[in-house]
């Protein structure tokens, strides 16, 4: 299992090999984070919005059964078919059976991290159904047979040259035309045709309102609406944690979502779907897939408040310098690292360690999830359950041994300082993981204790 456990750091090391690109990735995401700060600072009530959003989510989660039933009843009264799926497999089966009943062959999908989580595309394609991801970023990664590397900016790991090459190969665009406007327009032409010929549209859900039975979907490109309004069949897939009690609560969440994500005051489209249009059939699939299990974990249930804005990814020094794919999970970054171990502790044991615990994620989270504390809590559990790597366990034991013995601690500090002064080659080498990508600092001549002994009066 050792290679599995080390996955994130190995993948990050591969990502960092292209230093120029890693720096660009880092700076691009920091730029997005800065836009978020600017947008947040323009609202004096920002902190109280976060507080209210967090409270509304906490309340909804504590009465989730009641709200799910209220939502189901309203949605049914609105003429919507409601399905329940305990896991990814059941979700995929339900979606397929609806499509099969309608003999749907061509499906357009707007961005939905849930269907990524469930592996829906693969399931449908293996049954002969063509699925086109219509968010531009997701379309790009789909053509490249990759996964999104970010929940809001799926192709953030790619440069325009990469997109140009992919489009040239798959859409026959001009070779070496790197103009983002040209590339976007080329995709527009292809995708508008896909919308028109689709037999069904699959969407995710940003918010589901118990009071009205409606769902809200936010996009900048208009792709969810183009798909849903063109096709005779709409299937919306949502995690059960997407519920909020009332329509007026949307005011709070919609003010927070886009500002936290990209620094926009709101997305171009915030669409409220309540009833299917005349002649259309609408389905909502409510998915558990580990969410009730996470709800039962006292230390981690608050992770279900997440509204998938991606702010914690943009600010995370580890995400920015390791890339979304290094997290080997549909949701990357700090939030992904607390959601993933719930789904598979062994496979995702490395992720809570992919953090400096600096707490920046917690500071930007619009629903005030204590992300860095949950990362720390997962580490406790994973080490106890023996999912940590042997090297980490051994070094932690050694550290505990030294730190609990003051004389040993003083002595080893002295030895360490001397080595760094006289034989720097012993620490500045490849075998020392702290030396990777940086020089070791200059060692001080004496410890604070030694200085204090000399200077105290």
């Amino acid at each position: 299992m050792e290679h599995k456990i080390k996955d994130h750091s190995n993948a990050a090391a591969r990502f960092l090999k292209d230093e120029e690109r890693a720096t660009w990735h880092d700076e691009t995401l920091w730029f997005v984070r800065s836009k978020r700060d600017k947008a947040a600072q323009q609202l004096p009530e920002w902190e109280s919005l976060r507080e209210m959003a967090s409270g509304i989510k906490a309340h909804t989660l504590s009465h989730l059964d009641k709200y799910l039933l209220a939502f189901e009843a309203k949605a049914k009264a609105n003429g919507v078919h409601v399905h329940w799926a305990t896991d990814a497999e059941e979700h995929n089966r339900i979606v397929y059976s609806i499509l099969a009943k309608h003999k749907a062959k061509n499906v357009v999908k707007s961005k939905s991290m849930l269907t990524e989580e469930c592996g829906l595309n693969h399931h449908l394609e293996s049954q002969g159904i063509s699925v086109v991801d219509t968010d531009l970023g997701e379309y790009i990664v789909q053509l490249r047979k990759e996964q999104p590397s970010h929940i809001v900016l799926p192709a953030i790991h790619l440069k325009k040259e990469d997109v140009s090459n992919t489009f040239h190969e798959c859409l026959q665009t001009e070779k070496n035309n790197f103009d983002p406007a040209y590339l976007t327009n080329s995709a527009r032409i292809v995708l508008r045709e896909k919308f028109l010929e689709a037999d069904a549209a699959i969407t995710g859900v940003n918010f589901a309102v118990a009071e009205t039975g409606s769902i809200v979907i936010c996009t900048n490109e208009g792709n969810a609406d183009l798909g849903v309004h063109s096709a005779p069949l709409h299937i919306a897939c949502m995690g059960i944690e997407k519920l909020i009690p009332k329509a007026k609560h949307l005011g709070i969440f919609l003010r927070l979502l886009a500002r936290s994500a990209t620094g926009q005051p709101i997305t171009s489209y915030s669409s409220h779907f309540r009833r299917p249009r005349k002649g259309q059939e609408m389905h909502i699939v409510l998915v558990d897939n580990g969410r009730t299990q996470q709800l039962g974990r006292k230390d981690f249930k608050d992770s279900l408040k997440c509204i998938r804005c991606g702010a914690c990814l943009n600010t995370c020094p580890v995400y920015r310098r390791s890339g979304g794919h290094s997290y080997h999970n549909s949701v990357a970054g700090p939030i992904g690292a607390i959601l993933a171990p719930n789904l598979d502790m062994r496979k995702n044991a490395d992720l809570p360690f992919a953090s400096t615990l600096c707490g920046s994620c917690t500071n930007v989270c619009p629903v005030k999830i204590n992300i860095h504390e949950q990362l720390w809590s997962w580490r406790q559990i994973l080490m106890k359950e023996w999912y940590g790597s042997p090297a980490k366990k051994a070094s932690m034991k050694a550290m505990a041994f030294v730190l609990s013995r003051p004389r040993m601690y003083k002595l080893s500090g002295k030895i360490g300082r001397k080595i760094m002064q006289w034989l720097p080659g012993l620490v500045n080498n490849r075998l020392n993981p702290w030396h990777k990508n940086r020089e070791m600092p200059q060692a001080p001549r004496q410890s604070f204790n030694e200085w204090y002994e000399k200077n105290k009066r």
Partner: protein, 201 residues
């Protein structure tokens, strides 16, 4: 056999969740500001354009001029000349895909984020605001509100079968974070605000 619905509900009830109260909503003092100026400034920042007009005649004139350039205009605002949405209510998406301009009435315009609430009742056909190449939304000055809370509290948002907040033309920054106006949907958004003193459309 126990259904998935029962399984999920049972799992939630087994979680021993502490009862958390719904927080009371408090949005502070309502800011008194020049809503029109703020709206048009915000709209410009998100790629749209705002024009203040004295009455519907000015919009008529604008559309007439645009009509010489763009032959296919669908108009869903009954007070304007060339009102023709009735012919397209049941049209399929493919028929509508060549729509150059779509004109629709918005019912609430929000100063803080430039979003306009457009509802099914006014659209006529849900596809049109997205399939058209250029979108024109007509609102009256009284429809302006300060923020999202105002929009939800004071107006009947989310009671129709479908409704959407539209904030600017469609856009994307998915290629290297370069903003491109006109993703899959409209390439431009023009908002006409009719001054309060004049006739409402």
């Amino acid at each position: 056999m126990i259904s998935s619905r029962e399984k999920i509900l049972k799992a939630i009830r087994g979680c021993e969740l502490e009862n958390k109260h719904l927080p009371s909503l408090n949005f502070g003092e309502c800011k008194q500001e020049d809503l029109l100026a703020k709206f048009s400034q915000t709209l410009a920042a998100i790629g749209g354009r705002c024009r203040k007009v004295g009455g519907v005649e000015q919009i008529d004139a604008y559309i007439q001029e645009a009509g010489s350039k763009y032959p296919c205009i669908i108009n869903a605002v009954s007070e304007l000349r060339g009102f023709n949405i009735i012919d397209f209510v049941n049209a399929d998406a493919r028929t509508l895909a060549s729509t150059a301009i779509f004109i629709v009435r918005g019912s609430v315009a929000i100063a803080e984020n430039g979003a306009i609430w457009v509802t099914e009742k006014n659209i006529g056909n849900r596809s049109l605001p997205f399939l058209c190449q250029h979108l024109i939304i007509v609102v009256t000055e009284e429809d302006l509100v300060v923020d999202m809370h105002d929009a939800y509290e004071k107006n009947a948002i989310d009671i129709d079968g479908y409704g959407v907040f539209i904030a600017g033309p469609s856009k994307t920054a998915d290629i290297e974070q370069s903003l491109v106006i006109g993703a899959h949907g409209p390439l431009s958004l023009e908002v006409f605000i009719i001054e309060s003193s004049s006739n409402k459309p």
